[in-house]
Symmetry: C2
């Protein structure tokens, strides 16, 4: 699987650019959903052919209608169904017979309604496949292409030729946000409501939008992903180039209940999605507002190339709030060099501040704020991005006019004309200098400046913090772009020894000794240890390892050794060893022991593999000891892992400082730890019937992580097949 280089390799491409569309489910009754959708198609500027199908009406919305699919004068490239559920299958057959290859099935009543619906959906998929039909839905709200004005949603599009592509598992976020988007200056390139994803799914959308030239950033609303592996692969490739912003909901009980009831999406625990997005380079946001507005900012502005932000305002509060938010997000609002400060100071009044944030204070010549200082900032090599608050003209006048007019003769229009400021120079600066510009303004569409920013695609936020948070997403995308490209193409075959150990264990499972031997075969460091079954052998092992040693009972069925008193650490002498050996032997059913080197380290980590339905194996890293459990400070990635992923896991721990040089302790060897994590991912892919791996603790000895205890749990599955799949 690889991302197509041209959009038309993707089934959505034809759907978005059909020469002809058959529409089934529109009439002349303007209160039905289908009719409104068809109305938007007919009146929205789409120049292809629209062919309504209606059993009785000779005309629909002014167009000739056809009584049946078979009566159509040609094979439409796309068919849209907004019909009762019971009619869907026969319509799919009918379009299949005449050779239509793309459909948008708006009709609901399938998987989301329960078992009957699920089985109906399965039949739908089979019939479509039979005819080579690729389709969106069922239970979706349609698609929008603002380049060719194709719109089959209920919402009449207001803004065209935008650069943000949207794919959503909720139709509302495609069809019913038109006025919201317009008010906020967000213009889309394409929008896709995926519905139940019976055929085309959200990963296809990412692939399509990733290749679409008009789309410069991608926004996603996600309640659950069906094909996580392909999502990871596709999104990882796309996000290196185009920013992807996603909201995930469904991680809560009530959220999942709601998901299930409306699209039947399979929602997983929130932390798995967090790890998934992190690994795939997807910028996770907390609200649909951020999907649109941060997405649109990323789509319309040049990329951020460094973290130094200039903040320019005409009032202190917003400047402080922007600086503060930038700081929290890892951006810098650095004090300017004396030279730069001097150039700025020349343009501003004495009591204003030329430091960064620059505060012109109230009541300045707008040109200084909207042109003169910005041009200095964009030109400066000290600045990577610019945020401005306070540019406005008619918005304020509009408010003030009722009062002002009592004392002036000018009409509102005359005043507006006189006060409107030119923004041509400013709006050209981002592309000229290759730096992003974000605007904050408390005014809305009543302000000519805000309208101009919207038209010229300069992202404009209605609160200072929002502009700063959007800039944070630019930084996030810079970090994603800068991640080393080292994704493993192949995970290779398992080491021969590993296969032998796993085969030998059979259904009985692995004891600690075998578990560690398995790890060693993957290059994962463990203590020196010897398996013994007599006291004499234990003595000899201890002598060769050197005291102090650990003595542990060792058998596949023993899982909680410490709690059972079957582990003795720090045995300093042969006498002590003997006492420990005898004491443990007295407990029934201990067939063998490990004598192991004692590890001395002050830091403990844990790592492991967990499996979750629908997800690739998940490699986990965390703190060891009781803290691991109490703090839930873990970091996850899905196999196969690259070294970049492994380093991302280390950086993703809240307690990542503990991995550095810390209180006189040496830094943890990050390469060694990375190797352990990458190897765990390979192991998990090689042996699908290994249900769980738990390395706890991993003791950090003089910087080196060494696995002191390991548990490998077998589940259902076939080793051979697992190895085969992994290749």
């Amino acid at each position: 699987m690889s991302v197509p280089t041209r959009a038309y390799d993707n089934p959505i491409e034809t759907m978005m650019n059909p020469a002809s569309i058959a529409f089934v489910g529109a009439s002349n009754n303007l209160t039905t959903m289908g009719t409104i959708q068809c109305l938007n198609l007919v009146t929205g500027g789409y120049t292809g052919e629209v062919l309504p199908v209606h059993p009785t009406e000779p005309e629909v919305l002014g167009l000739k209608a056809y009584p049946s699919v078979d009566a159509l004068p040609k094979t439409p490239e796309l068919a849209v169904l907004v019909v009762p559920t019971r009619l869907v299958l026969e319509l799919v057959e009918a379009f299949g017979r005449i050779g239509t290859k793309r459909m948008v099935i708006v009709t609901a009543g399938f998987r989301e309604t329960g078992d009957d619906g699920r089985s109906l959906e399965q039949t739908l998929v089979e019939r479509a496949r039979h005819y080579g039909i690729r389709f969106l839905g069922p239970n979706c709200l349609g698609i929008v292409n603002t380049s060719n004005r194709l719109n089959i949603t209920v919402g009449p599009v207001q803004d065209f030729d935008g650069a943000l592509g949207i794919a959503s598992q909720s139709g509302t976020y495609v069809a019913q946000v038109v006025s919201y988007l317009h008010r906020n200056g967000v213009a889309l390139s394409k929008a896709i409501s995926v519905g139940n994803e019976a055929d085309i799914n959200i990963v296809d959308c990412i692939e399509y939008l990733g290749a679409d030239e008009r789309t410069k950033a991608i926004g996603l609303y996600i309640e659950g992903i069906k094909d996580v592996g392909r999502f990871l692969e596709t999104a990882s490739l796309v996000s290196r180039d185009k920013p992807i912003v996603a909201q995930y909901v469904g991680g809560s009980e009530a959220g999942a209940r709601s998901c299930a009831s409306h699209t039947g999406a399979m929602a997983g625990p929130a932390h798995l999605y967090e790890a998934l997005f992190e690994q795939a380079g997807v910028i996770q946001v907390e609200s649909i507002e951020d999907v649109y507005r941060i997405g649109s900012a990323l789509a319309t502005q040049p990329r951020l190339k460094g973290r130094r932000i200039a903040v320019l305002t005409n009032s202190g509060g917003p400047g402080t709030a922007i600086a503060n938010t930038c700081d929290r997000l890892g951006l810098e609002v650095p004090e300017f060099s004396p030279g730069l400060k001097e150039r700025i100071a020349e343009l501003i009044p004495g009591h204003a501040s030329a430091k960064n944030p620059i505060d012109l204070t109230f009541h300045m010549d707008m040109k200084v704020l909207s042109e003169e200082i910005p041009s200095i900032l964009f030109e400066s090599e000290e600045v990577d991005g610019v945020i401005i608050h306070g540019i406005m003209d008619t918005g304020f006048l509009d408010l003030l006019y009722p009062a002002v007019s009592r004392f002036m003769n000018e009409t509102k229009e005359q005043l507006f004309e006189a006060m409107s400021i030119g923004l041509d120079r400013l709006v050209a600066m981002p592309s000229t200098h290759g730096k992003p510009l974000l605007i904050s303004s408390f005014f809305g569409l009543e302000d000519h400046c805000v309208r101009t920013f919207h038209e010229r695609r300069i992202p404009t936020f209605d609160a200072p913090e929002k502009a700063a948070r959007a800039m944070g997403a630019f930084l996030r995308h810079l970090e994603i772009r800068n991640r080393p490209v080292d994704r493993q193409g192949r995970i290779g075959s398992p080491p021969e020894e590993a296969t032998a150990i796993v085969k030998r264990a059979g259904g009985a499972g692995l004891d600690e000794y075998d578990a560690k031997a398995l790890l060693r075969s993957y290059g994962i460091p463990t203590p020196v240890e010897v398996r013994v079954s007599t006291l004499a052998a234990a003595r000899e092992a201890a002598r060769s390892i050197g005291f102090p040693v650990a003595l542990k009972a060792c058998a596949p069925e023993i899982r909680h050794k410490t709690e059972l008193g079957l582990v003795r650490l720090g045995i300093a002498s042969e006498d002590e060893l003997e006492r420990a050996y005898r004491s443990m032997s007295e407990r029934a059913g201990v067939p063998g022991f490990i004598v192991a080197e004692m590890l001395r380290g002050e830091r403990e980590l844990m790592a492991g593999v967990t499996r979750h339905p629908g997800f690739p194996p998940c490699v986990v890293l965390g703190l060891g000891g009781v803290f691991a459990e109490a703090l839930e400070d873990i970091s996850s990635r899905f196999a196969p892992l690259s070294a970049t992923d492994a380093h991302g896991m280390m950086d993703g721990l809240r307690s990542s400082r503990l991995l550095g040089p810390f209180r006189g302790m040496k830094a943890v060897d990050r390469v060694a730890l990375s190797n352990i994590l990458v190897a765990l991912g390979r192991l998990a892919l090689h042996f699908p019937h290994i249900a769980e791996v738990d390395l706890n603790p991993i003791i950090v000895v003089d910087g080196s992580p060494i696995v002191a205890d390991a548990l490998v749990v077998l589940g259902e599955g076939d080793t051979e097949k697992g190895i085969e799949n992994a290749r």
Copy 2:
């Protein structure tokens, strides 16, 4: 100090309700700030007398103007100055002489400009005090009272008689958000720009707004608080009744730089403010948007009495997003009882969901969404609060009309008339049933429903997550109201023994033994330990304590015992004791030792006292060991602490699970730990010259926290005076 029960005990009261106002700094030039402010005063509906003072103009904005203060026909109750800096002092004198007692000084050029300005401001304060004048500013943007239509800001107020009171350290957030507030349905009661706070400060505002009957919730924008102790006391009292929502900015380097340059506010580290707000019951928010919109929601809706939220939508995505956000914030979106589900199911189509969230799906009779189901929900005893998404009428029509009109004869107005829905029943439900209602809608003022919600003060948010986050603030306020009232009125005198120990230590400081003796005098548990200076005494001590024991060097000047090898733990025998004693004694300059009981526990905590300029002593609780430092998982409160504060600290730790019964360990004795924290606060107040206290580790022995090591650092200060102050 206590909060006045009536607003007119506060100096702001007269300022907000003056019978007459002298305005100095307005002319007939409508492009100056002063003139615009006066214009808003004159045309805004204020019915008191406005007396412009202008040296040359006979009339200002149609009113008779007076050439000087002395020429005024009466003593104005309030004077407003928007004049050059150099004129301020003489005008204060002039108004002082004629008996004016309240002033708003808009003029800038004082403390915020540096040393000269600071000294000018000091003179200003002195002159005002001389005449008994209380004033706002300098460097502020004025005040608004929407009840009597008094507005001396540059922004012409659009919405009156609101319930949210605003006090802000940035003038912008009072004067330049008019259209923003209107667009978002936020109506204020009062708004105060505090400027440099040379006299009246933000705590006075909290006190005033807390007592103001029109104000039902308070919103604050804060860059730094001058009088933290009074803030804590005042806000704690007010917040039990009226919700206080605050944004703090200034905790970052760039933020602080910006603060200093525009109002000269003293910004402290962000975590101190976090602790302060937590302790004071102030709901901290991340953006000015939340100050207004969450503040306004809290001001206009009944209180939340439980955490069960009903979510009602006509589309799945918003419902899921609301449920998910509610869940993250500790609210519940519980599945309804069969009976309730049945009642709802009767009203909705078959494929829609009667579970919670209720999803009517697209295209329903609006009345079901806006009236029928809400009335069931408000009546139900299973529901504490309601969030609805999707109510709309003309907004959608407005969009669709251009297309629809091609096929219909009705005018837009006729259609609007026909489609407008009645919301009278819905908007009455919250007050009838005493439950909050929050609305989410993607439409703006073009929608008749949104306009109606604004007019009827039903909080309406432009994204589903925002409505849910606002409901989270209702829950937060419920928790604040429910906190036990146990604030200590007096911190009492220090124990006699404590005073004796501290006196005895003098300038030399306290060694570990004395430090622990001091703690014991406050009832803080420590291990059994004996101070010794001979081996024989050490032996006897060890025998009486019982092996194993710890041996520690003990002198005020020894601070890093462990690193210096001056601590030996787990000494098991007299021989071992002797070896350890001799080995430590060989190191030069160890005058004494402690022999101490060995504590056995698996969990370690740390607690202490830190001091920060401008703040009361800060009591800190955290994890012990290396984790304390790496995870920065600490929780703070300011002295004096109540038991509620102490319990809040425990709950505030990210790792608070470690305090519960955990992996077979007993729960930490919360009362005992609370006593330690409360005692630390008393100790810090009793002895101001104790600069720092560090109890690390506190070992949890069978649930009981015992201080294993303690450091008490003396700083500058006078013990006697400290004790005096504390009383």
